[in-house]
Amino acid sequence: MASSELEQEEIRPPQPPGFLQWIRENLFSSIFNSVLTVVLLPVVVFIIYQVLVWVLFQANWKAVTQFPLLYTVGQYPRDQLWRVGFIFSGMILMLGISWGRWGGLLRSITLAAGGLLLVVAILPVQHAELTLNMRLYLVSNIALALVGYLIGKKIPIKSYLIFAAWFLIPIIGVILLAGFESSTLIPPVQTTQWGGLLVTFLLAAGGIVLSFPLGVALAFGRRSSLPVVSAFSTVFIEVIRGVPLVTILFMFSIILALFLPAESRIDRLVRALMAVTVFSAAYSAENVRGGLQSVPLGQIEAAKALGMSNFKTTIFIVLPQALRAVLPAIVGQFISLFKDTTLVVIIGINDFLGIGRSIINSDPEFVQLRTEVYLFMALVYWIFSYLMSLASRRIESAMGVESNL
């Protein structure tokens, strides 16, 4: 193989089309398309212009900007805010480490988060809740992300340790946020005081972490050769999937107490979390079951032939292939779980949407500003779900799985 031959023959990739050519091909390829473009373009420009004018000059964002703490943590005692800050910093650190370890989309997310923190920290406005301490705290988080990045980059940490840390954060977080009866350092804080994005994220993260294993268990249960187990799992999955989430939320918030001993009291937020978990688990179970069905029987037979036990075959052969095949569906389920957490408003929990509603209803002036508040809520939910779907697409292409949609 003479490499000089290859060098002489210059094989160039097709050049990207020029600007004018692009316009001709994509906007004016036929008479119909030209007419469509001519009609649509002014409409789109007009709408974008109107929206921009409204957002920048006409809208009154007072109801949004006045209560940053309410939106993020709800009524959480202001003297105990360091607990929330501690968890937030922990997440920022982990985000930095993950960025250093894997890069890719995590880099964009970390940089975006850092940029947002920086912008908020140096906002040139007087704000009661944006004290000097708060600004310093926000800036120090950027430094923390960079430290995390260096750690992740320089020290070869095992991937599973990073995953484990991510899973531990919500658990440690809940313990820290709830506090202990006997402790003076972290006195208990009633969950009725929790609110805002904090509750939304807790419900979503808790729901994801808890519902996934339950879903896998139910999927195996449904495929089990034991009729009792399989019938129980099937009925469970089908009943939950057959009724709306609102029903399940009410069931856990009203009916569940009747079926437990009279003296037992389960916290309101925990009941909501249970409902979200059970609901999501039933859907995850069906996704996982689809994956399990897609694993060829030959794989299992080969594993058995190699002398692997049932348990080992399941954990090391079947499950990895099954989960990989249905990863897009599973992430899709997580996204809808995140969006579904808004339904807890109906049973009176002040999640992000709930806080927005209480702010609107707290003052006749803010009732007039509801447009701004609701659009702000929509934007925040949109950003987080869009990021999740973006992440899922990246993972899919990295793992070579194709999405159905």
Binding site: L226, V229, L258
Partner: protein
């Protein structure tokens, strides 16, 4: 066997704790016992709680007077009627909003999917923006935006917006002109019904003949013609006036006549339709894109025109992929209609919730609500699955 002395041959008896059959049965019994204990424990707790709080498990209250009003009921209702009747009103509301939502979402979703596939970049981007906006915000937020924001800018009754139709839009709702049957109307409907049945029969017979013999049978014009003929015949049988148009008009402080859609219904219907349309658009797009290009090229090479390519080659193949996820979108839409509770549209769940708040009925009412949704889901997926089976590949 077990009595034999163990030998190093293949007849060696397996100890019972390693025997798969024994293990299976043991696991079976253990799981059955565990589930039974759990259920028993729950039931005992419940009976104790029921006694302490004076709760009922019977459905007797269904016959009692409901005692609460329902605004704009689709079937006749007043608070003195039974709770069962109130529940039926709720069910009717659920069915109406889901049915209307399914139809609108399907049409809108298909149009958006086509726009997304358009060769015009701008069109495709607009469709993408619609899809990404609706797919990534929670339905409840969308519902609040429509109900609390958009509908709050609607003018009061005196300065109603008037759209062609005429349609009047104001704070009290949307008033549509609505066709209503006259006394001779049923005659017309029966004639039209017979015409449609005959047309469908003619369509399938003639099309089968066409597929078997290859002769032109004009099944499309014939069946359309039959419907038109029955329409005209029915119109004359009914004396030329099977309908009258009920136009809403302002009388005093309120509109009279026409079809009133409450703001609650309109908000729920619009947000459900738009939200589901975004998901359906992605389903339809995926289905159409999954049809391989070779199929379309082959059809063109055979001399089929554009309409034939789409209706005979692309759609039958795309539908096979589209239908199953479409079924689950329809089911989601029906279940999501329960969010109407948040804005006070009185469908099954909202009606049930009022009854729950009246002491002691929580469990039976809940059972009723769950049974209703379950049977709705099962019925929908049953019917659609029959259709799905018909259009799937027949493996010969």
């Amino acid at each position: 066997m077990a009595l034999q002395t163990p030998q190093k041959t293949e007849t060696t008896a397996i100890p019972f704790y390693r025997d798969e059959r024994v293990l299976q049965i043991a696991a079976q019994i253990i799981s059955a016992v565990l589930i039974f204990i759990l259920l028993y424990w729950a039931v005992v707790n419940f009976l104790r709680a029921a006694e302490a709080r004076n709760m009922t498990l019977s459905f007797g209250f269904l016959k009692e007077a409901a005692g609460f009003p329902i605004s704009n009921p689709p079937i006749e209702y007043d608070p003195s009627m039974s709770f069962a009747r109130a529940f039926l009103v709720g069910l009717a509301n659920t069915l109406i909003v889901s049915g209307a939502g399914v139809v609108t979402a399907t049409i809108l979703g298909t149009l958006i999917a086509l726009a997304r596939l358009s060769s015009n970049w701008l069109m495709s981007r607009i469709a993408l923006a619609f899809i990404e906006f609706h797919r990534n915000i929670p339905l409840l937020v969308l519902l609040f935006i429509w109900y609390f924001v958009v509908f709050s800018f609607v003018p009061p009754i005196k300065d109603s917006l008037v759209w062609p139709g005429p349609i009047f839009i104001n704070k009290r709702g949307i008033y549509l002109s609505w066709p209503r049957l006259t006394e001779t109307g049923p005659v017309f409907l029966i004639a039209l019904g017979i015409g449609i049945v005959v047309a469908i029969a003619a369509f399938s017979i003639l099309r089968k003949k066409r597929q078997e013999t290859g002769k032109k049978t004009y099944f499309m014009p014939v069946s359309i013609g039959l419907v038109v003929i029955s329409f005209v015949v029915g119109w004359f049988l009914a004396g030329g006036s099977p309908f009258w148009i009920d136009t809403p008009s302002l009388k005093g402080f309120n509109f009279q006549g026409g079809m009133r859609l409450t703001p609650e219904f309109a908000g729920m219907y619009l947000s459900l339709s738009l939200y589901t349309a975004a998901f359906i658009a992605e389903v339809v797009r995926g289905g159409i894109q999954a049809v391989s290009k070779g199929q379309i090229e082959a059809a063109r090479a055979l001399g089929l025109n554009q309409f034939q390519v789409v209706s005979l080659v692309v759609m039958p193949q795309a539908l096979r992929i589209i239908i199953p996820p479409m079924i689950s979108q329809y089911l989601n839409l029906t279940k999501n209609s329960s969010l109407a509770l948040a804005i006070g549209f009185q469908e099954v769940f909202a009606v049930g919730k009022i009854a729950i708040n009246q002491a002691g009925r929580a469990v039976p009412v809940f059972a009723l609500i769950m049974a209703t949704y379950l049977s709705l889901s099962l019925l929908t997926s049953f019917i659609l699955n029959i259709y799905n089976r018909r259009i799937q590949f027949v493996v010969r």
